[in-house]
């Protein structure tokens, strides 16, 4: 069991969660602008709207707990403790990026904070997260692994294979399904039969559904499940109902053929996880709207500075193109 977890007051925890959600939104707004202004190579997938999921879960983890992330992974990366500077450098393919510019948006990894990486194969990291949990159990580290994936990934057979083994072997893994209602450009109702929780329950895995727009609900549930997973009571499944504000990727602009503007506007105006949590913090007297505005402006200044830094940062030397194909081996 990691002793790194410090006692904090709830207010500190809440404000940190708020700041982390604001950081994700600020990061994504700038990533989107970099794409729209053709400053970013390739494309990317926005996490905006889903912030309470990544933050609620990662705030229940220690730095040595592992996560695996998805193509829509910037939020997980920020929430697990990454810095803006190395993240923007990675998105722009610069040498100082987390992966020296070799991974980019869809493969960003930050092993120093236990992020085993985003994955551009939908569902591709389900085995990896389960294996990290097997390692943790075998090596007795007490760490937990969280596997983030979307509702679309529940259609991959790999999930059922690894859930079976995780349940048989009692692994400390939490399968966190971010159900944003859309499997790329298709309504999830059209691709998913039955219920998602029933699929986990079929393996004897305890399954929960939580409002993925409510960071405290997500965090409360995750804290309980993480503590139980550390005691050997895992695996667990959580379905987190949420919403992605943007299209499948940044270029998916005209999307009314699969999703109405009214629906999008409703989620943004009524269900925004940052706005709603901010209101709650003020209502509870934990913070003032001025203080929250200050958080926002601090974070935005940080993000702007990181973008400017990344834009000016050098690309990797061309000699790096065939570096890191094979790790050095003593034998």
């Amino acid at each position: 069991m990691s002793a790194a977890r410090k006692k904090k007051t709830n207010a500190e925890d809440y404000l940190r969660m708020y700041r982390q959600m604001v950081r994700i939104r600020a990061f994504e707004d700038r990533a989107n602008q970099l794409y729209l202004s053709a400053k970013m190579p390739g494309l990317t997938h926005m996490y905006s709207g889903q912030e309470a999921v990544a933050v609620g879960i990662c705030e229940a983890l220690t730095a040595t707990d592992r996560i695996t992330s998805t193509h829509r992974g910037h939020g997980h990366c920020v929430a697990k403790g990454a810095n803006f500077k190395e993240m923007f450098c990675e998105l722009l393919g610069k040498e100082e990026g987390y992966c020296r510019g070799k991974g980019g948006s869809m493969h960003i990894a930050d092993q120093s904070n236990g992020n085993l990486g985003a994955n551009a194969i939908v569902g591709g990291s389900m085995g990896i997260a389960t294996g990290a949990a097997l390692s943790a159990k075998r090596l007795g580290t007490g760490d937990v692994a969280v596997c983030f994936f979307g509702d679309g990934a529940t259609a991959q057979g790999l999930w059922y294979e690894v859930m079976n083994m995780a349940a048989l072997w009692g692994l400390p893994v939490i399968y966190a399904c971010e159900n944003n209602g859309y499997s790329e450009y298709t309504k999830t109702d059209e691709i998913a039969a039955g219920s998602l929780t029933a699929r986990a329950e079929a393996f004897g895995i305890e399954a929960h559904v939580v409002d993925g727009q409510d960071v405290l609900a997500v965090n409360d549930l995750t804290q309980k499940l993480v503590a139980r997973a550390r005691k050997g009571e895992g695996p667990f499944f959580i379905q987190l109902d949420t919403y992605r504000y943007h299209g499948h990727h940044v270029g998916d602009i005209n999307r009314e053929y699969y999703r109405s503007k009214d629906e999008e506007a409703l989620w943004r105006s009524e269900r925004d996880p940052i706005v709603n949590f901010g209101k709650w913090l003020v209502d509870q007297g934990i913070s003032s709207s001025d203080d929250l505005d200050k958080v926002k402006s601090e974070v935005e200044a940080d993000a702007d500075a990181a973008v400017a830094y990344a834009e000016a940062a050098p690309y990797p030397d061309t000699r790096e193109v065939d570096m890191h194909v094979y790790a050095p081996s003593a034998a």
């Binding site: 991974g103 294996g131 075998r138 690894v162 079976n164 083994m165």
Partner: protein, 331 residues
């Protein structure tokens, strides 16, 4: 020196390494009490227990993915893939995940994992249990590929594979499990990328891999009686490939046949022949000849199956024609 079977050699290599390093564990179908259908792993579960010799469900992508995740987080798993033909089931986990993690993370994450599997036809197992698919994985940067040709190589290469910090795929010839060869009692490792000159000669170079080393040696024996001195070389690993030893030999003999049990088209024979043609062209008296398996699914009927693989007779006949200066237009 004592002689042991290839099966025993693999078993010894794994047992010795597991005694040395607690982070090594083994997983796959029927690896524990059954010791695999070929009985290669018999006795390991009795020594190391079911925590380290793990029977999995029949879920190849699942347990390969779990091994990748375990390898990323401090374990050194050995994955047992019962038949080489099942590689097609695990291509995403092996080629998209394991092979690329080190590169995509800019050298921060690595996957010290061994995938042991097999190759080889003429066991009357038909098209889905007889393939030699090493070219398929040799094509993917980030994977290393070892092809032991006897019990001696099987032990030394396996120990090196286990200590390597990259994903290594090791193919054993399933027809050679009961073949005995001299294997020292004392510990030894065989470095990757060092070819073995099995027999010296000046007239022609026979480069054979895996099961085809025996074929090349038997052909050389017959040719010697006819006054043709064939040099026989076993590359032992095809990734990395010891080009230097192959080129030195071909520059001496001016003629070469590359013999391999994978399909001839787009295969190992073509790759090695091409490198020799590019780098030793002005030393050659004839084009390098490829002898791979026929480009047909492996047939069941013995009357047909035996036609599909290179044999001592075919190699001998081709060598005679080359040495006689005959124009070779077909292969």
């Amino acid at each position: 020196m004592r002689e042991i079977t290839l099966s025993k050699a693999v078993n010894e290599a794994i047992a010795e390494e597991m005694r040395r390093d607690e982070t090594i564990f083994l997983l796959g179908e029927d690896v524990a009490e059954a010791g695999t259908p070929f009985k290669v792993l018999s006795g390991l579960v009795e020594e190391f227990g079911t925590e380290r010799v793990i029977d999995t469900p029949i879920s190849e992508p699942g347990f390969t993915g779990i091994a990748v995740g375990a390898a990323l987080t401090g374990s050194r798993p050995i994955v047992d893939l019962m038949f080489g033909d099942f590689l097609f089931l695990i291509m995403d986990q092996l080629c998209n995940q394991a092979a690329k993690a080190y590169y995509m993370s800019g050298g921060k994450l690595n996957v010290p994992m061994v995938l042991r599997t097999n190759l080889g036809a003429t066991r009357r197992s038909a098209a889905q249990h007889s393939q030699s698919l090493h070219a398929l994985v040799a094509h993917i940067p980030g994977l290393k590929v070892a092809l032991p040709s006897s019990a001696y190589e099987a032990k030394g290469l396996m120990k090196t594979a286990i200590r390597d910090n990259n994903p290594v795929v090791i193919f054993e010839d399933k027809l050679m499990y009961q073949d005995k060869a001299p294997v020292p009692e004392e510990e030894y490792l065989i470095p990757f990328g060092e070819a073995n000159v099995k027999r010296e000669g000046k007239d022609i170079t026979l480069i054979g891999t895996s099961s085809m080393v025996q074929v090349a040696e038997a052909a050389a024996e017959i040719l010697a009686k006819e006054g043709i001195e064939a040099e026989v070389i076993d590359p032992r690993t095809i990734v990395p490939l010891d080009e230097e030893t192959l080129l030195r030999s071909v520059k001496k003999t001016s003629r070469a046949i590359v013999i391999d049990e994978g399909h001839q088209s787009y295969g190992i024979t073509g790759e090695i022949a091409s490198r020799l043609n590019e780098k030793a062209f002005y030393h050659l008296d004839a084009p390098v000849v490829r002898m791979g398996a026929m480009d047909v699914p492996v047939p069941f009927s013995p009357a047909l199956e035996d036609l599909t693989v290179p044999t001592v007779e075919k190699v001998t006949a081709m060598a005679r024609r080359l040495v006689a200066g005959e124009m070779i237009h077909a292969a």
